[in-house]
């Protein structure tokens, strides 16, 4: 059996190296793309769930404090997700979270059976809740300030 030329051996190893690298890329690139897209949609669902949970927490706490009587108060700790742009109270009964998603702006609306007020700036019947506008951990005080309304 003839011994192969050293140059041939080198070219063979180079070719094998290139084939292994090409195969690795052919596997890694599509998998990365698929996982990236899948995780993007999953993170969207997680943000939705977070906003829904904190909206329900605020409304539940407000209703609980209202029925505890005037002067009752509590502080709840909430983690505001990054996608929340602003929070407003409309007509003293709707608390609205304006959020951005990968496919547009959405409003998460929560309805309270008790009157909600806030000490933020108001324009007609729309009042900003400044304490909830930025992302991160927030401590929100909820207090029954009168016999017919709860302050956030």
């Amino acid at each position: 059996m003839a011994e192969s030329h050293p140059a041939n051996r080198k070219s063979q190893s180079s070719l094998e190296y290139l084939l292994v690298v090409a195969l690795t890329f052919a596997i890694i690139v599509p998998i990365t793309y698929l996982f990236y897209n899948y995780s993007k949609e999953s993170s969207q669902e997680i943000n939705d769930a977070q906003v829904t949970k904190l909206g329900r927490s605020i409304v539940d706490a407000a209703e609980s404090i209202f029925y505890s009587g005037q002067g009752s108060k509590t502080t709840i700790e909430l983690i505001i997700p990054d996608n929340v742009q602003s929070v407003v109270i409309i007509d003293n009964r709707e608390i609205v979270f304006n959020t951005t998603t990968s496919f547009g702006v959405s409003e998460f609306v929560f309805f309270s059976s008790v009157n909600l007020t806030t000490n933020g700036s108001c324009n007609a019947n729309v009042c900003n809740v400044p304490g909830l506008a930025n992302s991160g951990l927030k401590k929100v005080k909820i207090e029954a300030i009168s016999r017919n309304s709860v302050d956030i």
């Binding site: 599509p30 793309y33 698929l34 897209n37 899948y38 949609e41 969207q44 669902e45 939705d48 769930a49 829904t52 409309i90 007509d91 009964r93 709707e94 609205v96 998603t101 496919f103 547009g104 702006v105 959405s106 409003e107 998460f108 609306v109 309805f111 007609a124 019947n125 729309v126």
Partner: protein, 156 residues
């Protein structure tokens, strides 16, 4: 000298052919959609939890989604829009506004649909925008929610 130049030319000619063959092969694979990895993603309909998407179907001239009103309030839907990133985008006739009682499901159909690279057998990613207000809120402020449908257009 002559021998060396001939070897160099043969080397270049060989690799040029190899390059052309590889380019044509990759172009063909691309043309037939082998590199369209989005086809391997699951078909999904994503709406906020307050309007959970229960089901959807993409037919050649119709987009249909089934949503449930989880707001806990009766609402009136005032506007519905559907679009996508194609140029020009998909054009569908949305249903008229309707009343929607809490905890009930609605089958919302956009039909007929045309344009927007909305083709049978192809993957479509559509954005749906819904405007609504709560009937019990005095000033009736209109709220907007966005959802996304990502699936294959089927003829059946």
């Amino acid at each position: 000298m002559y021998n060396k130049s001939q070897a160099a030319l043969e080397f270049l000619a060989t690799y040029a052919w190899a390059f052309i063959v590889i380019t044509i092969t990759i172009s063909s694979l691309y043309y037939f959609g082998v590199f369209d990895f989005s086809r391997y993603l699951p078909q999904r309909c994503i709406f906020p939890a307050q309007f959970k998407c229960l089901d959807f179907s993409l037919k050649p001239d119709e987009v249909r989604v089934k949503l449930v009103n989880n707001l806990g309030e009766d609402i009136k839907v005032t506007s519905l829009q559907i679009t996508n990133d194609a140029t020009p985008p998909i054009s569908c006739t949305p249903p008229l506004g309707f009343d929607w009682t809490h905890s009930t499901e609605k089958d919302i159909a956009f039909t007929p649909c045309s344009g927007g690279a909305y083709i049978v057998g192809e993957r479509a990613e559509l954005r749906i925008t819904i405007g609504y207000y709560a009937v019990n809120t005095p000033s009736k402020p209109v709220h907007i929610i966005n959802g996304k449908v990502n699936g294959r257009v089927t003829s059946g």
